[in-house]
C-alpha cells in the first residue's frame, strides 16, 4: 500500500483554479521533487496536503486513512510534517525549545504533572532534552541550542525548521524551498543532510525547490506543475527531456 495517495485533488479561489487534478503516489522512503514556474501552485499543493486549505475537489489518503479536509493538527499527528517557504520559527523561543515544541505530542505527561512537577515530568522532559539535542546534532545546531532562534543566521534557521518538523516524528516530510537563500556550499551541504535524514529516520520526502542541481541531484522522481496542473512526472532525465517542461520553463 502506498504511503501517500493523492486523487484528483483541486482547489479554487473564486474563479482561480490554483491546483487542478493533482495526482501523486508515494511509497515509504521515497524522495520526490515538486517543481514548476512561480505561481504554478506548488505551495498551494503543500497547503492542501497539510490541511491549511481544504480541497474543493478530490481527496487524499495517507497511511491508509482518508485525510482530505482534516485539520493541520490531525494531519501532523497522522505523520505529515512540513517547513515553510517564508521561515516560520517560534522566534522568541530558544533553538532547543523550538524542537521541543515539535516533540510536544510525543510525550504524554499531563497538566497536573507539569504544574506539580511529578516524576513523569522530569522523566519525559529528560527524554525531550535528549531527543532534541540529538536532532540538533544532525543539523549541526547543538552548539546554538540556547540561542534565541531569531538570532540564528538564515541558513541555520532553515535547518532548524527541518529539525522541528522531524521532531514530530513524521512519515512524510514536505520541504518548501529548503535551499532558498543559501549559497552553493550551503546548498550542497543541505543536499547531503536531506539524503541523510531520509535514511536515518526512514521517511519519505517531497520537496519544492528552484535549485535544479539540488532537485536533479537527489530526487528519485520529479513532478512538474504548471498553472496548477501536473504536466510531467518522472525521473530527472525523463523530465529534463520532456518537451512540455522545456516549454513551461523556457517558453514556446
Amino acid at each position: 500500500m502506498a504511503l501517500l495517495e493523492v486523487k484528483n485533488l483541486g482547489i479554487s479561489f473564486g474563479g482561480l483554479r490554483a491546483v487542478d487534478d493533482f495526482n501523486l503516489t508515494m511509497d515509504n522512503g521515497q524522495l520526490y521533487g515538486l517543481i514548476g514556474p512561480n505561481g504554478a501552485g506548488k505551495t498551494t499543493a503543500f497547503n492542501l496536503l497539510t490541511g491549511v486549505y481544504k480541497p474543493t475537489d478530490g481527496s487524499f489518503m495517507f497511511d491508509g486513512k482518508e485525510m482530505s479536509g482534516k485539520s493541520p493538527i490531525d494531519i501532523n499527528k497522522a505523520g505529515i510534517a512540513r517547513t515553510f517557504q517564508n521561515i516560520r520559527l517560534f522566534s522568541d523561543m530558544s533553538v532547543l525549545d523550538n524542537v521541543k515544541v515539535g516533540l510536544h505530542n510525543r510525550e504524554t505527561y499531563g497538566l497536573a504533572s507539569g504544574i506539580l512537577r511529578l516524576p513523569s515530568f522530569f522523566k519525559q522532559e529528560k527524554e525531550m532534552y535528549d531527543m532534541g539535542m540529538e536532532l540538533l546534532k544532525v543539523f549541526d545546531l547543538d552548539k546554538e541550542a540556547n540561542f534565541k532562534s531569531s538570532n540564528l543566521p538564515y541558513g541555520k534557521q532553515r535547518k532548524l525548521e527541518i529539525a522541528r518538523a522531524l521532531a514530530t516524528n513524521p512519515k512524510l516530510l514536505l520541504l518548501d524551498e529548503p535551499a532558498a537563500g543559501m549559497n552553493p556550499n550551503e546548498t550542497a551541504e543541505l543536499m547531503d543532510t536531506i539524503a541523510l535524514i531520509r535514511n536515518k529516520f526512514n521517511i519519505s520526502i517531497l520537496l519544492i525547490e528552484h535549485d535544479m542541481n539540488l532537485v536533479m541531484g537527489i530526487c528519485e522522481r520529479i513532478v512538474v506543475l504548471e498553472y496548477g496542473k501536473i504536466i510531467a512526472n518522472g525521473t530527472a532525465d525523463e523530465v529534463k527531456s520532456n518537451p512540455r517542461v522545456i516549454a513551461a520553463y523556457l517558453g514556446e
Binding site: I73, N76, F84, L89, F90, D92, M93, Y109
Partner: protein, 320 residues
C-alpha cells in the same frame, strides 16, 4: 534536570526568607503602618499581573477584561462568605476556590467565542465583556448594586496573601516551563507553525485564558476580604489598564518582572505623596515609552548582541 530541582529549592528558600522577614517586620511593628497596609494590595496586584502575563506575555493576546474576571471572582467568593454561616477555616478556603472557579468558568464563556478572533478584536471583546459584567453587577439586587456589597469579613491576612501569591507564581511558572507552556508560547510566536507541528491551538489558548481568569478570581476574593466591601466601579476598565501597565513595565513574558513592577506600581504612589494626581499620566508614559523602547531598532540590535554573547558563554559552560 538536576538544575531545575536545585533552582526550585533555591527559589523556595528565598520565598521563605522573604516571608519570615516581612512577617517579622509586620508583627513587631517595625514596618510603618503605611507599608504594612500595602502588603496585601501588593500581593493582589502581583497575582493579577502574573496571571495577566500568562495571556498577554506568553500567549500574546491582549485581554482588557482582567478586572472583569477579578470582579466575577470577588463577588461570587464574597457573596458566599456573606450569605453562608460556616466556620471561617472552612468558609474562606471554599470562597477562594469558588471565586477562582466561577472566574474560570467565565474564562471559558468568554474564551470560546473570543478564540475565533485575534488581536484588536479580541481586545475589544474582552473590554466589552468587562463593561457588561460591571453593568450587570450594578443592576442586580443581590450584589448590592452600585452601593456595593457590604459586611464582608476581613479574613485576608498577610500569611494567606503570601501563600496565594506563592501558589500563583509557582503554578504559572511551572506551567510555562512545561510542554504545555511551550505550546502556549509557540502559539504566540507563530500560530500557523504551531498547528503544523500538531499543537492544539484552541485548547492551549483556552487553557491560558482559564488559568489567568482563575487567579484573577482568587485575587478578587482576597481583595474583598481585605477591604470588607466590594464596589462595581472598582473593577472598571482603568483597573484592567493598571494591571496591563504592571505587566508591560515588568516586561511581557517575565514573571519576575511582573512581581517587581507590581511592587513598584503599588508602593510608589504611597511613597511619593501627591503622585496620585499624576498616576494616569505615569501609566500612559510607561505604556508608550516601553513600547517605543522595545521596538527601537538600535536597542533591539544591541540586545541581540548581548544575548548572543551571553548564550555563547552559557553553551560553552554546558559543554565543559
Amino acid at each position: 534536570m538536576k538544575k531545575i530541582k536545585t533552582k526550585t529549592i533555591i527559589w523556595l528558600i528565598i520565598a521563605v526568607v522573604i516571608y519570615a522577614v516581612l512577617f517579622y517586620l509586620d508583627a513587631t511593628g517595625k514596618l510603618s503602618r503605611q507599608f504594612s497596609r500595602l502588603l496585601i494590595p501588593v500581593g493582589i496586584n502581583i497575582m493579577l499581573a502574573v496571571s495577566l502575563n500568562l495571556t498577554v506575555g506568553f500567549l500574546g493576546e491582549l485581554t482588557l477584561g482582567h478586572a472583569g474576571f477579578m470582579s466575577v471572582g470577588a463577588y461570587s467568593g464574597c457573596m458566599f462568605t456573606v450569605f453562608m454561616d460556616l466556620p471561617v477555616y472552612i468558609e474562606f478556603p471554599l470562597a477562594l476556590l469558588i471565586g477562582g472557579l466561577v472566574a474560570a468558568i467565565f474564562g471559558v464563556i468568554i474564551g470560546v467565542p473570543a478564540l475565533r478572533l485575534k488581536g484588536d478584536y479580541l481586545a475589544i471583546v474582552t473590554l466589552a465583556f468587562g463593561e457588561i459584567i460591571k453593568s450587570v453587577i450594578i443592576n442586580m439586587d443581590i450584589t448590592g448594586g452600585s452601593a456595593g456589597l457590604k459586611g464582608i469579613e476581613k479574613t485576608t491576612n498577610f500569611t494567606v496573601m503570601f501563600v496565594a501569591v506563592l501558589v500563583t507564581i509557582i503554578v504559572i511558572a511551572n506551567l510555562i516551563n512545561s510542554r504545555h507552556g511551550r505550546a502556549i508560547c509557540a502559539i504566540r510566536d507563530n500560530v500557523i507553525a504551531a498547528e503544523a507541528v500538531g499543537i492544539n491551538v484552541v485548547y492551549y489558548k483556552l487553557l491560558a485564558f482559564v488559568v489567568a481568569a482563575f487567579f484573577a478570581g482568587v485575587a478578587g476574593v482576597l481583595y474583598g476580604h481585605n477591604l470588607g466591601i466590594l464596589k462595581p466601579a472598582t473593577f472598571d476598565f482603568n483597573k484592567s489598564i493598571e494591571i496591563l501597565v504592571i505587566v508591560v513595565l515588568g516586561g511581557m513574558g517575565s514573571i519576575t518582572g511582573s512581581v517587581v513592577a507590581a511592587i513598584i506600581i503599588t508602593v510608589l504612589p504611597e511613597v511619593l505623596r501627591g503622585l496620585d494626581d499624576y498616576r494616569m499620566l505615569i501609566y500612559a508614559v510607561v505604556l508608550i515609552a516601553m513600547m517605543l523602547i522595545n521596538s527601537n531598532p538600535r536597542i533591539s540590535a544591541f540586545r541581540k548582541r548581548i544575548e548572543s554573547k551571553f548564550n555563547l558563554k552559557k553553551n560553552m559552560k554546558e559543554a565543559e
